[in-house]
């Protein structure tokens, strides 16, 4: 059930939507709603990062809330800003897949939701960060990332956090942005926002909703086709085919670092289990004639799929991080789609849905 949202309209002046939204975020910081605001900024031309701002002027000057590029999935660094139950509140402007990753991290007890004010923002897709850097400032012709082309969640989930959502899908020709306050929002925060004098309006919200539905429908076809192609690409199936697809893996673990929901503080692959004695390696090599080193790369990817696919938000950062350009997104997205539908789990939807591995039903999954 979608909770009723209080929909407000933020007027946009001549300076444009980015400045209007930056001004709104700076205002929230100025009025003490948050102690700091995390948001995307450009460090040097063409390179984006996230800034944890304390100075509202820095936000007004530097914020790039609509830049179609994603340096990291900020769900995980934002979680880390509040992992130690701080006092005070951190605000963060996050894309839908970042919000969803953060929900998973909250459920994994790696972020304290009480110390967050999440401002979700619609996202119609991002482009490859390296292409963006090369093409900057003329970036409008760039193709969306593979993950974004098939993304079915262009809007942040309403049920994820008692926060604020910024809507702009379907409102391109309006001089306005939609500001939706969720019902559970801290009344103190809501009061401050309401005092900014935005008018209440349902018609923009309706237009946005139907534009999102249309976009999802379009993407749904692309999504299905993408999965079919990826399966076909695997060409014959069998363990050999998957080993072939992952053959270039050097074991750098960049995909794990980039993954916002690969949640272990210390990965088993960095531990003693994989710190083999020479004799163990020799014994294995003896059995197979030889072993690849660095080894266990196939085991690593398959294990990661088992550990994190239920929480996979399909952001595709694993693929962006791969120095060998392995098509990780399609493999992980396909697997995640299967495991999530098996246990009827939608990652990032709500903090109320229990993580599937922490719970069970007595009458399920039979025969084993």
């Amino acid at each position: 059930m979608t909770p009723a949202m209080n929909n407000l309209v933020m007027p946009v002046g001549e300076e444009g939507k980015a400045k209007a939204l930056s001004g709104f975020l700076a205002r929230l910081l100025e009025l003490g709603v948050v102690d700091s605001m995390v948001l995307p900024v450009m460090t040097v031309p063409g390179i984006m990062t996230y800034l944890m701002a304390r100075d509202p002027e820095l936000i007004r000057e530097k914020a790039e809330p609509f830049a179609a590029v994603m340096p990291v999935n900020a769900g995980s660094p934002v979680a880390r800003t509040v992992s130690k139950k701080p006092r005070g509140r951190i605000g963060a402007l996050l894309k839908p897949c970042e919000v969803r990753a953060l929900v998973e991290l909250v459920k994994l007890k790696q972020a304290s939701p009480d110390n967050l004010l999440i401002i979700g923002i619609d996202c119609t897709g991002t482009v490859d960060r390296n292409e963006y850097k090369k093409a900057y400032p003329d970036t409008s012709h760039l193709d969306l990332r593979e993950a974004c082309k098939v993304c079915l969640n262009p809007s942040p989930p309403d049920t994820a956090f008692p926060g604020i959502n910024i809507g702009h899908i379907g409102l391109d020709d309006e001089d306005a942005l939609l500001v939706s306050l969720s019902t559970g929002l801290d009344p103190g925060v809501a009061a401050v926002v309401e005092e900014l004098g935005f008018e209440s309006d349902g018609s923009l919200a309706d237009r946005r909703r139907s534009a999102i539905a249309a976009l999802r429908e379009e993407r749904d076809c692309a999504h299905r086709e993408f999965f079919l192609n990826s399966r076909a690409e695997q060409n014959g199936g069998g363990i050999e085919s998957i080993a072939r697809l992952l053959a270039a893996c050097t074991g750098c673990r960049n995909c794990r670092v980039a993954c916002p929901v690969c949640y272990c503080r210390e990965c088993i692959f960095d531990g003693d289990v994989f710190d083999y004695e020479t004799r163990q390696l020799l014994r294995r090599a003896d059995r197979k004639g030889g072993i690849k080193i660095p080894g266990d790369t196939l085991l690593y990817h398959l294990t990661r799929m088992n550990h994190m696919s239920l929480s996979c938000v399909a952001c595709g950062m694993c693929q962006d991080a791969c120095p060998e350009n392995i098509n990780l997104f399609s493999l992980f997205a396909r697997v995640a789609d299967r495991t999530q539908s098996l246990l009827e789990y939608v990652p990032g939807r709500s903090q109320e849905d229990a993580l599937p591995f922490t719970t069970f039903r007595e009458d399920e999954l039979e025969p084993r």
Partner: protein, 143 residues
């Protein structure tokens, strides 16, 4: 694929201390004959078997992996077997989606008093693995 004639599958079995391992022990003390293809590893609970260990066995050339836990409601740790069931179901989805196939992974609830069931399960699994043939990972070194 290698012919299954003369092929003796190797099964790595993760058996729960409280039920299936004791069941296997009962099969032994009852002198029930069953194939010697199984290499048991005693674990405290089927819920403690991370899919990583199952995958490791499969990628290192084990022909099958058997996980044995207590029957529903009997888990010594209240619900580890139910959690194992979820984990293994997810493992199956991963293996099936990637075309690796999950038929080499067996998860069975076998209690401490079911020595005969343990022996029958091993027999059944050996037959099934013989018809599947050797695990192709035996000869693969790029795992």
């Amino acid at each position: 694929m290698e012919s299954s004639v003369g092929f003796e599958p190797k099964i790595v079995a993760f058996l729960c201390n409280w039920c299936t391992y004791t069941g296997a022990d009962l099969a032994g003390v009852s002198r029930i004959q069953y194939p010697s293809n199984v290499r048991p590893i005693r674990v405290m609970c089927s819920g403690s078997v991370d899919p990583m260990y199952i995958l490791k066995a499969l990628l290192d050339g084990a022909d099958g992996v058997l996980i044995g836990g207590c029957h529903g409601g009997d888990c010594h740790y209240v619900n580890g077997n139910y959690k194992a069931r979820r984990r293994i179901a997810v493992l199956r989805e991963v293996l099936d989606e990637l075309g690796i196939g999950s038929e080499r992974v067996w998860f069975r609830f076998i209690s401490a008093s079911e020595g005969a069931l343990f022996a029958d399960t091993v027999k059944e699994m050996v037959d099934s693995l013989k018809s599947l043939g050797p695990n192709p990972t035996k000869a693969m070194w790029i795992t």
